[in-house]
């Protein structure tokens, strides 16, 4: 299935999701091809983070479908009827979908190295020595060669987030989900994290990122998706979304204007 460049790696169709009576996703369609970087932008409450979290089923979804590399994420098809996936199936699917979190979510009782080793050893089944080597390679790549044995509390926010990225990409995921990964960082630490993401993009990593960094989204994305009130309102290449579409689409224009205001 993979390697076929005409079939999207991530295929979302008619996705709906409610929290109680509040419908946050009202039918979302999204295709992400292998090697593409898709940025999802939009005001808080627009459903962008929920969309991302549905892709690896940190949130269950009510209707529609999400396929990653041809496999339905949330539900198995049993004789034409949907049934929720079992824990083990779900774990196997999630192992191929990397995620980096806004609040890092590093394991505080483990060193930077062991944060990365855990998945390689327990999920990928690597021997511990091999897992340590792979973990170290990735930590070196994100510029943390001298922090291998540091605990998360001994690291700055930017360093913690780079460990978070190393932990996700070391698993060689098919797609990487980045959930506002610089929002909790001091402004001077944002750059070091975005640099790492840009390198991953150049290496051809398929990524979906929810972000408020508009200039970064413009630089790095193959496509930008603007979500508004649970739907995709505007979608296209960055120069279009930040160019022509911005002139014609009122909600997009006011959203971008508000972001700019916060910047200034």
């Amino acid at each position: 299935m993979s390697g076929n460049s005409t079939v999207p790696l991530v295929r979302v169709r008619g996705l709906t999701k409610s929290f109680g009576s509040n419908q946050v996703l009202k039918g979302v369609d999204l295709d992400v091809m292998k090697g593409q970087v898709v940025s999802v932008i939009g005001a808080s409450g627009s459903g962008k983070t929920t969309l991302l979290r549905c892709v690896n089923l940190l949130e269950t979804y009510d209707g529609g479908s999400i396929q990653v590399d041809g496999v339905e994420v949330g539900y198995a098809d049993a004789n034409g009827r949907r049934r929720p996936r079992r824990e083990r199936e779900l774990a196997r699917i999630r192992a191929d979908i990397g995620m980096v979190f806004q609040l890092f979510n590093l394991f505080p009782h483990l060193t930077a190295r062991d944060n990365v080793v855990l998945g390689l050893h327990k999920v990928r089944g690597m021997k511990r020595t091999e897992a340590r080597q792979v973990a170290e390679q990735w930590l070196v790549r994100v510029g943390l060669a001298d922090k291998l044995d540091s605990l998360p509390i001994e690291l700055s926010g930017g360093q913690q987030q780079r460990v978070g990225i190393a932990r996700a990409v070391a698993m060689s995921p098919k797609v990487l989900l980045l959930d506002e990964i610089t929002s909790a960082l001091d402004p001077e630490l944002v750059g070091e994290v975005l640099t790492v993401v840009r390198e991953l993009a150049n290496d051809g990593m398929t990524m979906i990122l929810v972000t408020h960094e508009m200039s970064f989204a413009r630089d790095v994305s193959s496509r930008v998706v603007f979500m508004d009130a649970g739907r995709i309102a505007v979608e296209g290449p960055p120069h279009e979304v930040f160019g022509a579409a911005m002139q014609t689409h009122e909600r997009l224009r006011s959203f971008l204007a508000r972001i700019e205001l916060k910047r200034a």
């Binding site: 779900l90 191929d96 995620m99 979510n105 505080p108 855990l118 327990k122």
Partner: protein, 216 residues
């Protein structure tokens, strides 16, 4: 007073051993059962969590003595023959397990939900997330209140005397029955209970310091 204590002391050893043995058995059983129930309370679907909650609230709402007598008198009615010792231990174990389950639940819920999500995101199964992510972190929240339940168990075991088990408490009363001098023996008994429990709380303090890897 001191000479009465010294004379009585040898007669207390056997009782002390019974108290320690009873407490040790109850602590281990209550730990295993309590951890399972606590995980059920925290993550179980409603049909698992709800009965545990009911049982735990009910058991914790009873005075320990009532629970011991209930099991002591009711079990034989069901035709189940077990020794006094076993029935009293079962009562104490049920009581402590209910408390341990709440301690476990509290410790687990103190862990940020993002930890569980991060574990899911790298493909860990539920039991792997418990084993490698949640429980190691919950341990340091768990230890201090858990040692409290251990101390409660040692103290609660003195009620075993009331169903005729010759533990430290009943040994003390037996010695008093012969010497007719209650004061020295009760003071001695109090000291012995205190030494056990003070030792436990010191261990607890050591452990807390050792697991303090998170700045708060």
């Amino acid at each position: 007073m001191i000479d009465v204590m010294l004379k009585g002391l040898p007669f207390l050893w056997q009782g002390l051993l019974v108290t320690l043995e009873a407490a040790a058995v109850v602590v281990v059983v209550a730990l295993v059962v309590g951890v399972v129930l606590g995980i059920g309370l925290s993550y179980g679907p409603r049909w698992i969590a709800w009965p545990i909650r009911l049982l735990s609230d009910f058991v914790r709402g009873l005075p320990l003595l009532v629970l011991i007598f209930s099991i002591f008198y009711m079990l034989p009615l069901t035709g189940w023959q077990i020794s006094n010792f076993a029935s009293a231990l079962a009562a104490l174990a049920v009581f402590e397990a209910a408390h341990v389950s709440e301690v476990v639940r509290g410790a687990i819920q103190s862990i940020h939900p993002g930890q569980n999500e991060a574990g899911k995101a790298i493909g860990l199964t539920f039991s792997q997330r418990m084993l490698y992510v949640i429980l190691p972190q919950a341990l340091r929240r768990f230890l201090p209140p858990w040692i409290n339940t251990v101390v409660d168990t040692v103290k609660g075991s003195s009620l075993l005397a009331l169903v005729g088990i010759v533990d430290l408490m009943l040994s003390i009363q037996q010695v008093i029955g012969r010497t007719f001098k209650p004061m020295p023996m009760y003071v001695l008994g109090a000291l012995m209970y205190f030494v056990i429990n003070y030792t436990l709380s010191q261990i607890s303090r050591r452990l807390e310091a050792r697991f303090a890897y998170v700045r708060e």
